[in-house]
């Protein structure tokens, strides 16, 4: 252990002396400084007068001296811990105080030349020094009790906590700071009138013709969407598990679609069907002489688009819940002479109640966070997520208003998230353990069955139509005006000029950027997500509940809020990332991490804990156990986490749209741009191409997972069975 600490400290020292402390003009990972010979390394900067960098270097030196000089292990560990933490605190403080531009949080406390002159954002040198000090601290922490703690576990926890703090909490705090900002300072009293302003919470639509506040709009939409998706999801789930309906495979397909559909595509398809020049609108206009209206561009349009987008999620949740109702309970009820309706009403439904609440809250949060559909459909009905966007990019940029709206949205989603945690808490994982009861679920009584059919099946048909529109619309010259068949949109987007070998299509740039960034983000997401899951399922440590809460938190932070907070936090030193591709990768990792965590938790709960314990008692440490026992048995889960985060990175738009730059544009924001210009054909063709890309990725994964499952998990199951 002493050796590991020393290695980390040495790495820290070397980077302090040799690597540029600050970000160079050309970016974080630029290598020209080596040839220049006068790199602004940490040491060099101190000599050049930036005395405030000295504590970091001194802390590393002091820690090395402590490691070498002190023999008594506990004392050594404690002193190193203290030194390393002090070093980290100094690095953070100087970064926050001495800032070149942007909000200077401590400006009012220290006014000095250095503070006003400022410094650029932190670079490779600062990053590696901080990392070295962090690991020196965590390893020492694991040694600082009387016995041998587990350095690997403590270090992983430390790293994840640090990352979540920097990339989730730090930006969100920036929004708060912005919301309290007034001209030349901060004011508590200004905040409340702003937050409770009638722009947000006005209820006058209930009593008059005026429209409600944007917060009330969002809330109303979310409640409706939550209720609607839960009802539809339940119908689908009941049909799927409790009837002999033939086309169950088809229903399954419907559950995959939203995962691979960029969020605004449904809205687009609805425009093609019901917009002013939509097929169905025109048909009825001709037939009945109705005037084509813009009804779609308001509440109902967004509502339908959200129902289409989020019902499959409710279905996925509820199918587990419905299956989780043990058949033996229903059989017991029937042997007690209850009929099928009574069994459903008094046994099955109450057992499903927590699951229904869960599905509702999920739909509620998804609706609040939805950005794509309101963006393309919402000109007549404003909601928080898009208003935040317009406050930033609109004609009059008003970051303070964006911050207030973001806090309003965050308040709503966090409340729902807390409610979900408090009522349903941990129950949700435990029920889906794949424990097979023998016995049969009661089939539905006929009335209920037909009620389900009548809600769900038209809906399924509608979904199919919507998706056909996406394919069909991409081959049509000008929707609603000229329905001639054409490849033009594809050629414009993905054309290749074979004479010069150039990719001449307009979409190629963003397409390649998207693929590259998603492929880098996916493994990182899987790594962070699965490590977190491992810690949560397999390790006991102080503060675990808070740890779990904070890692799940980014699920409840809408993409728009993340986007705003990232441009507010990372546009300035100490961490200056806007305009780089790194910020896109980071935003994907922390947006999608909860999905990786959930997947990892599910997979890990199916591995018998005694496997790890056997490995530990045989003398392996946690790292070896993870490497040799857990990872090989989690193969499928790892691959699933990989594709899922890959696909989510491709389809996400809300956070991305704030963070793209001319140099690093992403497919989704490119498409949204086309939609805003009215180039629907191109937008739809590009969306179709994205969907095909993701389908290919998923199929590839299924193939890989399929092969592995035959060999690995079968054995796991057999062992489990004999056990």
């Amino acid at each position: 252990m002493k050796k590991t600490v020393l290695i980390w400290l040495a790495i820290g020292l070397v980077s302090f002396v040799l690597l540029p402390w600050h970000m160079t003009e050309d970016g974080l990972y630029d290598a020209t400084w080596m040839t220049d010979g006068v790199a602004a390394t940490g040491l060099f900067s101190i000599l050049a007068g930036q005395w405030w960098l000295a504590p970091a270097g001194l802390a590393i030196l002091a820690a090395i001296v402590i490691q070498l000089a002190i023999d008594e292990p506990v004392k050594r560990a404690r002193l190193t811990l203290g030194t390393a933490v002090a070093g980290l605190a100094f690095i953070a403080l100087q970064g926050l105080i001495i800032v070149r531009a942007g909000p200077r949080i401590f400006e009012t406390l220290f006014v000095s030349e250095a503070v006003m002159a400022g410094q650029p954002g932190m670079g490779a040198g600062a990053g590696i020094c901080a990392l070295a000090l962090l690991f020196a601290a965590t390893i020492s922490l694991s040694q600082s009790d009387k016995g041998q703690g587990d350095a690997f576990v403590v270090s992983t926890i430390g790293l994840i906590v640090a990352l979540v703090a920097i990339f989730v909490f730090f930006p969100v705090i920036h929004i708060l700071v912005r919301a309290f900002e007034v001209d030349g300072g901060y004011s508590l009293t200004e905040f409340f009138p702003r937050f409770f302003s009638s722009d947000i919470w006005d209820l006058s639509c209930l009593i008059s013709n005026r429209s409600c506040g944007v917060g009330i709009n969002s809330l109303f939409l979310a409640v409706m969407t939550g209720a609607g998706t839960t009802l539809l999801g339940l119908s689908f789930a009941l049909i799927f598990t409790r009837t002999d309906f033939r086309a169950k495979k088809l229903l399954r397909v419907l559950t995959v679609l939203p995962i691979i559909t960029p969020p605004f595509v449904i809205g687009l398809a609805l425009i093609l069907l019901f917009g002013r020049t939509g097929t169905i609108t025109e048909y009825f206009a001709d037939l009945l002489g109705w005037e084509a209206t813009r009804w779609l561009y308001g509440f109902w349009g967004i509502y339908f688009a959200q129902l289409l987008s989020f019902t499959p999620i409710a279905f996925l949740v509820l199918i587990g819940v419905v299956q989780g109702v043990s058949p033996s309970m229903e059989e017991a009820s029937q042997t007690l002479d209850a009929n099928r309706w009574q069994t459903f009403r008094f046994v099955s439904l109450p057992l499903m109640r927590p699951g229904l609440a869960n599905a509702f809250l999920l739909g509620f949060i998804e609706s609040l966070a939805d950005f794509g559909n309101p963006l393309v459909l919402g000109s007549g009905y404003s909601v928080l997520s898009t208003d935040i966007y317009f406050a930033i990019v609109g004609a009059v940029a008003d970051p303070a208003k964006a911050a207030i709206l973001a806090i309003a949205l965050l308040t709503l989603t966090l409340t729902a998230f807390m409610a979900q945690r408090m009522w349903l808490g941990k129950k949700s994982y435990a029920t889906i353990t794949g424990k097979a009861d023998s016995g049969q679920n009661a089939s539905l009584n006929p009335i209920l069955k037909w009620a389900c059919y009548c809600t769900a099946l038209p809906w399924a048909a509608f979904t199919l139509v919507v998706y056909s529109m996406i394919i069909f619309g991409s081959f049509v010259k000008l929707w609603g005006i000229n329905h001639g068949f054409t490849f033009d949109h594809y050629i414009r987007a993905f054309g290749i000029d074979f004479s010069t070998g150039r990719f001449s299509g307009v979409a190629w740039d963003s397409y390649f950027t998207t693929l590259t960034i998603s492929s880098i983000a996916a493994p990182l997401t899987a790594l962070v997500g699965l490590s977190t899951a491992y810690l949560l399922v397999r390790q006991k440590f102080w503060g675990k509940d808070a740890f779990e809460f904070s890692t799940m938190l980014s699920f409840a932070i809408p993409g728009t809020v993340i986007g705003v907070s990232y441009i507010m936090a990372f546009n300035f030193p100490p961490i200056e990332l806007t305009g780089t591709s790194i910020i896109l990768i980071i935003v994907f990792v922390f947006r999608n991490m909860p999905v990786g965590v959930r997947g990892g938790i599910a997979a890990m709960s199916q591995l018998d804990k005694s496997l790890d314990e056997a490995s530990i008692t045989l003398g392996a440490n946690s790292f070896t156990t993870v490497r040799r026992v857990i990872l090989p048995l989690m193969g499928p889960a790892v691959l699933a986490a990989l594709t899922y985060s890959f696909v989510r990175a491709i389809t996400s738009v809300s956070a991305v749209i704030f963070l793209v730059s001319a140099k690093h544009n992403m497919a989704t924001s490119f498409i949204v741009g086309r939609v805003e210009n009215g180039e629907f054909g191109l937008a739809i063709a590009y969306s179709a191409a994205l969907i095909i890309t993701m389908l290919a990725a998923i199929l590839l994964l299924q193939l890989l997972v399929g092969v592995r499952r035959l060999r690995r998990s079968d054995r796991v199951q057999q062992i489990a069975k004999t056990a």
């Binding site: 016995g147 587990d150 314990e613 056997a614 490995s615 003398g619 040799r628 054995r715 062992i719």
Partner: protein
């Protein structure tokens, strides 16, 4: 394999899981080379005790010594203790040989040496030649023996077994427990064995630690526990026993004069004091006679023929008694009035 074995000592060990106290101030000491069983009803803290020895749980209070060394704060990785899990916990993605060699390879032993030692281990448990199979290609009993081999190739100071036989069928159980006992004795290992089956405990142990309600109820050899139970709980838990209230009137050396329902008896005193007590009457310490004979009056409420013996339940004034009798040409039948005789030197006294 060399002999390298350690003692285990707990000093006032307390284990709490949040509010739940799983162990209340446990003191125990296990000598090197002994097989000691932790026996008790479900939830009494046996597994917890075992996991504390393994280092899979950390004591809330108190100290733990293995081989004389204080290991209280050492985690499982660093304790020289191996464990056989109830579910075997064989790694399903490794062959039998890789499983057995695992503990050696994580300590970076050379591959060839590890494989050779693994094969020796497999031979010891009678599975030579099974090294290349996967665990799923073995029967339950064979998997069990792989788990034992995997634990003993590390030459642990202490071998821990948590209900190792509970997943085997009744016939195999007897066979495997004899094998485990034999391997333990031939290697001179210190072993701690958890079971809730008192017959299994009696069959394999040098000493038995009976636990109840997160505490040790009694420690002793199987014979001690059966012959001199320290409490009604032990008497009831170890073997079948009828517990009958009695009064101890006088003590006369090793003999106590006691009264059961007015009937005067002279029974071994078992360290009892004067006053109200309970008498432990094993089923074979009771005889059934015609109603005119001296004894406790009663009526048979249940009679069953079990081939080698008869089992009766007799309702008497001191409660219902479970009696085992010889198979007779003319057995007692349900409803018969009988007199229950007590064989005095087989009765035991415990405090009320």
């Amino acid at each position: 394999m060399t002999k390298k074995t350690g003692s285990v000592r707990f000093e006032s060990v307390v284990k709490k899981y949040g509010e739940v106290t799983a162990l209340k101030k446990l003191d125990l000491s296990i000598d090197p080379g002994k097989l000691v069983t932790l026996l008790g009803p479900s939830g009494c803290g046996k597994t917890t005790t075992l996991r504390l020895i393994a280092g899979l749980e950390m004591a809330t209070e108190g100290k733990i010594y293995i081989g004389g060394e204080d290991v209280t704060h050492l985690t499982a990785t660093y304790r020289k203790v191996s464990m056989v899990f109830q579910s075997y916990a064989l790694f399903p993605h490794m062959t039998v040989r890789e499983n057995v060699a695992y503990g050696l390879t994580v300590k970076s032993a050379p591959k060839a040496e590890a494989a050779q030692k693994a094969d020796e281990g497999l031979e010891l448990v009678g599975l030579a030649g099974f090294g290349d199979r996967l665990p799923s290609e073995l029967s339950g009993g064979q998997q069990q023996r792989v788990a034992v081999a995997r634990a003993i190739v590390l030459e642990p100071e202490v071998l821990l077994l948590d209900e190792p036989l509970s997943n085997l069928d009744a016939k195999l159980r007897r066979h495997v427990r004899e094998e485990i006992r034999q391997i333990q004795q031939s290697l001179g290992l210190t072993a701690v064995y958890v079971t809730h089956d008192q017959e299994e405990a009696m069959a394999v142990s040098d000493d038995i630690i009976v636990m109840n309600n997160a505490e040790i109820a009694q420690i002793g050899t199987p014979n001690d526990l059966y012959e001199a139970p320290s409490s009604a709980f032990i008497a009831d838990f170890i073997g079948d026993a009828n517990l009958v209230p009695c009064d101890v009137d006088a003590l006369d050396g090793a003999i106590a004069r006691a009264r059961v329902n007015g009937q005067k008896l002279s029974v071994p005193s078992n360290g009892i004091r004067k006053g109200a007590a309970q008498m432990v009457l094993r089923p074979q310490a009771l005889t059934l006679q015609k109603p005119d004979q001296p004894g406790l009056e009663g009526q048979i409420s249940y009679a069953a023929y079990l081939g080698k013996e008869m089992q009766y339940t007799v309702e008497t004034l001191v409660g219902s008694l479970f009696v085992i009798g010889p198979v007779q040409a003319q057995p007692f039948l349900r409803g018969d009035s009988v007199s229950v005789g007590i064989i005095e030197d087989q009765a035991r006294l415990v405090s009320a």
